[in-house]
Assembly symmetry: C2
Homo-oligomer: 338 residues x 2
């Protein structure tokens, strides 16, 4: 069955293979009558061209790779959806490579630096080393970063420093001065996630601007799980002089803080204001004040950028910065007079 080839079509239509190929590729240099003959033969033989053969002779794979860590996390899923909407409308397929360990990451980076494996590479939240970037460039593979930065590659980022700043400033504007920050791990951060650094910077910047000294005890680190966040939040809330407001690195961690407060009998928002980051779906349901990121949009922009760079030869690296937005709900209120 199957395997009707372009040669069969050519024979049937009484033309050469070149002509059939030209018809398939909408090359205008084919007379209308010839074109119709070929189309009739294609119809009759139920011919469909083989993408693989096409790829081999074109030297293109019509495929892009998306390398992303932990694609189960809600924020990644949202970004992937953005990518998908763009790629689905293009003639490119995308293959998803999920990274959960540094060794998987390194393996994928190595494999992709093969000139004919994929036509483009979209890397999410991971920062390739200079050597790796070098290998992509040598192989001539257009590469775009989403949620990560490298000076030689185009990237889409969210202004996380501003986001961290906004969250902290919001609490300061409400009169708070004892402001805790529950962040992701900053030093044991094998993937070097950039936002971890940036949000922290924003936090520090807002404090400095308001003339509030940084209090190391108010900065705690936990992984992105509710359970651990709850434990760490409890430590912070049982300090002799506990914070009156807490900014959490993610909404998930903010839920840990809420639970910690509940278990310690601390009322939110009257005794403690809490602000998260991400605005995941459930946050609205739980009335969490938070910082919304344009996650879906970051995927869309990343995919578009990559498709553009595949088309042009030597693109200048570009940077697109997406803004954040404060979503005011019910977990932050002005500091009660003492």
């Amino acid at each position: 069955m199957a395997s009707v080839t372009i040669r069969d079509v050519a024979k049937k239509a009484g033309v050469g293979v070149g002509t059939v190929s030209r018809v398939l590729n909408r090359n205008p240099a084919v007379r209308e009558a010839t074109r119709r003959k070929v189309l009739a033969a294609i119809e009759e033989l139920e011919f469909t061209p083989s993408p693989i053969a096409r790829r081999l002779s074109l030297g293109k794979t019509m495929t892009v790779a998306v390398i992303a860590p932990f694609f189960v996390r809600p924020s990644y899923v949202e970004r992937l959806r953005g990518l998908d909407t763009v790629f689905a409308e293009s003639e490119y397929d995308f293959i998803l490579y999920n990274v959960e360990t540094t060794s998987r990451r390194d393996r994928y980076f190595r494999e992709m630096a093969r000139s004919d494996r994929v036509d483009g590479l979209l890397i999410m939240s991971l920062v390739p080393t200079d050597n790796t970037v070098e290998s992509f460039m040598n192989a001539g593979i257009p590469t775009v970063l989403v949620d990560a930065v490298h000076p030689r590659l185009s990237h889409i980022i969210i202004d996380d420093q501003k986001g961290g700043y906004k969250a902290t400033k919001h609490l300061i504007d409400l009169g708070h001065r004892k402001i805790g920050y529950l962040s992701d791990h900053m030093y044991e951060n094998p993937f070097n996630f950039q936002p971890v650094i940036d949000r922290y910077k924003g936090y520090r910047q807002a404090l400095t601007e308001a003339g509030i000294p940084f209090h190391p005890e108010y900065h705690r680190q936990s992984e992105l799980s509710r359970r651990i966040a709850k434990k760490v939040a409890k430590e912070m809330l049982t300090l002799p002089d506990p914070p009156t407001a807490i900014f959490a690195y993610s909404d998930t961690q903010a839920f840990g803080v809420l639970r910690a407060a509940e278990e310690l009998g601390i009322g939110v928002p009257e005794d403690l204001s809490v602000i998260g980051y991400d605005d995941i779906e459930i946050s609205e349901y739980l009335h969490l004040t938070t910082i919304r990121q344009q996650l879906f949009q970051s995927g869309v922009e990343g995919a578009k950028l990559l498709l553009e760079e595949i088309d042009i030869q030597h693109p200048e690296p570009r940077e697109i910065v997406l803004p954040t937005e404060l979503i005011l709900r019910k977990t932050t209120v002005p500091l009660a007079a003492p």
Copy 2:
């Protein structure tokens, strides 16, 4: 740069191209000395074989397609993770085709029925028509369904009828007899999702067994959003004789029910027991009693099954049924004496 071919290697090593190919494919009919010469040449030229060329001459794509609807929903993401762990260890890549409309679905089904586009097809939650199945078979494309059933295709399902039964039975065992069921849309169900039917059947079965007559007013349908679920739950809870317990089709809808109860001043669990379905991550945090499905495992099994079917010629369709589990938390309690 790049494009060192097998012929370059052959020349360098002073052997024929066939021999190089044999070395690459670990064909044992190569003398150790020859083999070493070839490997040395490969090393020296930094040769890496082109997957595309390999695919063309093998007539295989080394790629499988995964067609899934709405991959943002937590339950699909969990299943995809299961798939990913299996495919990542195999030599197959997988391309994700996200379906959000019936036309996208039909387009993908048509495109995949090309014998050389992909080597295998994994379809999630969508039921192909007999004609479509026919076209896959003619093209010789192994196909596996996850969370859907077709008599001629292997499939992995979760025992949703039993799941619906378990949820309902649990409420009955607690003494409830006025049991509402908030389901997904059963008739305006463009994708014909099978679980929608099965859970409903389980609900009816449990009622029948316990001798409780089915009360149509207690069966309401809403889409899978919290907001709509809340609205519909309110209708049910403001009936003259409202249910004392509600089983929701998904955890997300269960949260809508909880919010509806809260807004109506109905206490959960003392005045109303609520049970969900899925056991998504946030459910534990909110203490929701629910039915847990083996989502991750369903992905793993589906991927394994597909890889097996790619290897053998004419597999008999197989069926794997995964069980569900009642997760007891704090939103269901025995019916208070009147």
